[in-house]
Symmetry: C2
Subunit: 499 residues, 2 copies
């Protein structure tokens, strides 16, 4: 057996343990009984320790060493070269972090979550503050262990968005922020806000579920290789290559929540279901990055799922299912689900204001990691930025600085992916429309096959074969360009708000 | 660390893998998507291989060796002695089976199941015959590897019912068979068969589910440490010590199926939830035997769940839930769910005829293992025995010799547990009534707490601390006595059938 085959055997082994952990995570989030958690968390902890040991073993190091010798490496196929590169990158990253540090970080963040919950419940940031201080300190330490060229935040950002740099992000944001703030002001001051009351009547939960299944079928989500369940915080998870599961949630008094959560997660799931099978059990069997993954969910949720053409096709199905919509026209429904608002909560934000919420978080966390601000000042800073970007101030920290769990998880560097997802999706969309001449007509017919084929052959099938920026250039012919996103917003919302 | 602590560490490790496999099994049976099966089965195969290697390792052998030295062993607590005994027994059993043989048997039986399904679908025993022949041959080989004193079948029986011997079983059956056949004839010839049509009206599935949950709550099944799901073949499974899950199934046109499946599985689950926590992660954290486990499910399903006193309490709840029962009296309902019939299918059999179905299977498998009969003659032998015991002949093999999956699984030696469960349950019941003076009254009040406490302190909490016959004697003061079962049947059914 050659070295590359030996490596693949090891990766297959590791993959089995990931599959088991995925099933356990899915189970815990979709209805495992309360008393199961303690035992399951324990087992999960041991399994991640096991994976860590497998990924950082001397044997693994030897194999990587052998495979990166020039004569060995040059003889590998392109795919195998990429596999070796990715395994090496992870190996080196893990080896840079002392085992004690990893354990301590895991313990610290899992402990911090409890206090985050309590702080949120009591509207009291000070409960969470000491834990967040420790996490920030450890995240700085983590970045130091990992190393970086320019900005310390780069070390963390790279875990979620490989190749992206803080400097580039700052450039994007500087440009985009002004344009977004102006546009939001135009819409809310000069535009006409649509009616929306009918969205909040009582909608039968079973019928909402039927609609969720229908739209997933329409998207060609493969139910023979997946299932739909309920979770408090919807997510998509791959259990194994034949099993990519979606979760959603149903609110009786908001018809939007389940629908758009389902379509969003459906977008993630189509990506996972579309990765080439030849990559199974290797690091290539994954999304290109968090941002690229989010571009898929956001495309389906917003660009397609909140488009007029889509509703022109799908609305009769909704009217048939829900009597409450009998006297609501498709135009009014379409406008209602596209209301733009200066609101407090990121996860409820519309597609125009959403990125402002993300920028604020990025700016804060980048400053924290570079020690330019202090944890104790976060509530003040948060509120000031909210006032500046969205002209709204949270009445308490629970709907302000305490609203997201990410920092309690220690996931510094994650937030930018949400924004990048939106930007990528608009850039992909622009290219897609160039290459699928009948795009609009097909959506109006409820025929998404050309769209899905385009996504599959341009994005999905490649998995993690390319770096995100490489993939973007390969597909669209250029690097990240925020104009596509702004153009998309302007064209759509000027009409919705009759500007 | 002493040897016993080292052993316990290993057992804890093994237990983690069992927990993972349980979750995967549960998932596959309760709705995992079709395409998940191939990958999950693969992972399950590797996990069982891993457990096998852990259980038969040289290290494990050394520890057992050390712990069974007189001076070491004598210093162990009673519980630890029992742990060592059980581990040793399993270790020796596994070591007797060559790894190649185990793999071959697993492959053979998993393959055979496909042909069993096909044979059943096509009503054609010959499709299954060659696979069953191979399984019988391998089961004989297995018994030879394992070794036995008297009857070759003992080696297999002991895996499910430790300590039970073929000779003893034959003695029990010889006595019981005649008494049962006579009694069934009395009932069906001289008795008055109750009405039952109302059981087969259309019963709303959601309401059936509500009733299932209500009765489990009434039984004190702990939903915080378990959940109820749907499976084609209902089962109970422990995921971990805080998580014992039940499955049931709902038939729209039979009100009995979901109810009694739920109560049956609830009985298993109460046993699992009641084992002393000090046994967690050791072989004592298990039922005493398959037969004792079945005694718990059968007690709740039949002795309690099909009793007049129970329905006197619970029937108003049923009438409130189902309009179809509005004009049916509790007496008529009680009689309908206790109809005795000479029927073809074991799993649908009433508690009077059930053991006859089991005896027939035991007689056939014992003769197969001892090579007194041939697989090719099974359909004929089956039908002859059905005629003899139940005076009914299957019109085809699908409702005859092909009805159960057990032989395709290679589970020779399992069937007797079903009968023993019935016999144990009646013997326990007799003792329970002696020790709980207000037994009947409490059931009529829907108060099962004394009963559950009795079961917990006499049976559940002990787990696998005692051999089944030892437990039976400890609880009831005597060895297995079929009179209790016959007395119970006679008293109950003479009334139902107005003999």
């Amino acid at each position: 057996m050659g070295y590359i085959e030996k490596l693949k055997e090891k990766l297959k082994d590791i993959s089995k343990y990931h599959q088991i952990m995925s099933l356990m995570h899915w189970d815990l989030e979709t209805g495992a009984p309360e008393r199961s958690f303690e035992y399951a968390s324990n087992t999960l902890g041991e399994l991640s320790g096991k994976i860590y040991r497998m990924e950082t073993s001397e044997e693994m190091g030897d194999l990587i060493n052998k495979l990166t010798q020039k004569n060995e490496y040059d003889n590998l196929s392109e795919n195998d070269k990429r596999i070796v590169d990715l395994v090496k990158k992870d190996y080196e990253r893990y080896r840079k972090l002392p085992e004690e540090f990893v354990k301590d970080l895991t313990k610290t963040t899992s402990n911090a979550q409890k206090y985050w919950v309590e702080a949120r419940k009591n509207n009291d940031f000070s409960i969470f503050q000491p834990y967040l201080e420790k996490i920030v300190k450890m995240s700085i330490q983590q970045a130091e262990y990992l190393g970086y060229d320019g900005n310390r935040y780069d070390a963390l950002l790279d875990m979620y968005e490989p190749g992206m740099k803080t400097k580039e992000l700052k450039g994007i944001i500087e440009d985009l922020k002004i344009r977004l703030v102006d546009f939001v002001n135009d819409l809310t001051e000069k535009g006409t806000k649509p009616e929306e009351d009918f969205l909040f009547e009582k909608y039968d939960l079973n019928k909402q579920k039927e609609i969720s299944i229908k739209v997933l079928e329409l998207m060609s989500y493969n139910f023979k290789a997946g299932r739909l369940d309920v979770a408090a915080h919807p997510f998509t998870i791959r259990i194994n290559p034949g099993d990519v599961r979606i979760t959603t949630r149903y609110q009786e008094k908001d018809i939007r929540d389940s629908f758009f959560s389902t379509v969003h997660e459906g977008g993630h799931a189509l990506y996972e279901q579309g990765i080439s099978n030849e990559f199974v059990d290797t690091p290539l069997y994954d999304g290109a990055s968090m941002g690229i993954h989010e571009s898929q969910s956001r495309f389906w949720e917003n660009i397609l799922g909140r488009s007029y053409d889509f509703w022109k096709y799908f609305y009769p199905e909704m009217q048939k299912t829900f009597d409450q919509l009998k006297d609501v026209s498709v135009e009014d429904f379409y406008k209602a689900i596209n209301i733009v608002e200066k609101s407090l909560i990121r996860v409820d934000a519309d597609e125009v204001t959403y990125n402002l919420h993300v920028m604020l978080r990025f700016e804060i966390e980048e400053a924290l990691i570079n020690e330019r601000i202090k944890v104790e000042d976060l509530p003040k800073i948060w509120n000031e930025k909210m006032k500046e970007y969205l002209d709204i101030v949270p009445e308490n920290d629970s709907v302000g600085v305490l609203q997201d769990v990410h920092w309690a998880h220690g996931s510094f560097g994650y937030f930018p992916s949400y924004m990048l997802g939106n930007l990528f999706s608009a850039q992909f969309y622009h290219k897609m429309k160039e290459e699928i001449p009948d795009y609009d007509k097909m959506i109006r017919r409820g025929d998404f096959s050309s769209i899905l084929n385009w996504l599959r052959s341009n994005i999905h099938k490649h998995g993690k074969k390319y770096e995100p920026n490489e993939l973007l250039r390969k597909v669209t012919g250029e690097k990240l360009n925020v104009d596509y996103f702004m153009d998309y917003l302007k064209e759509k919302y000027s009409k919705v708000y009759k500007l």
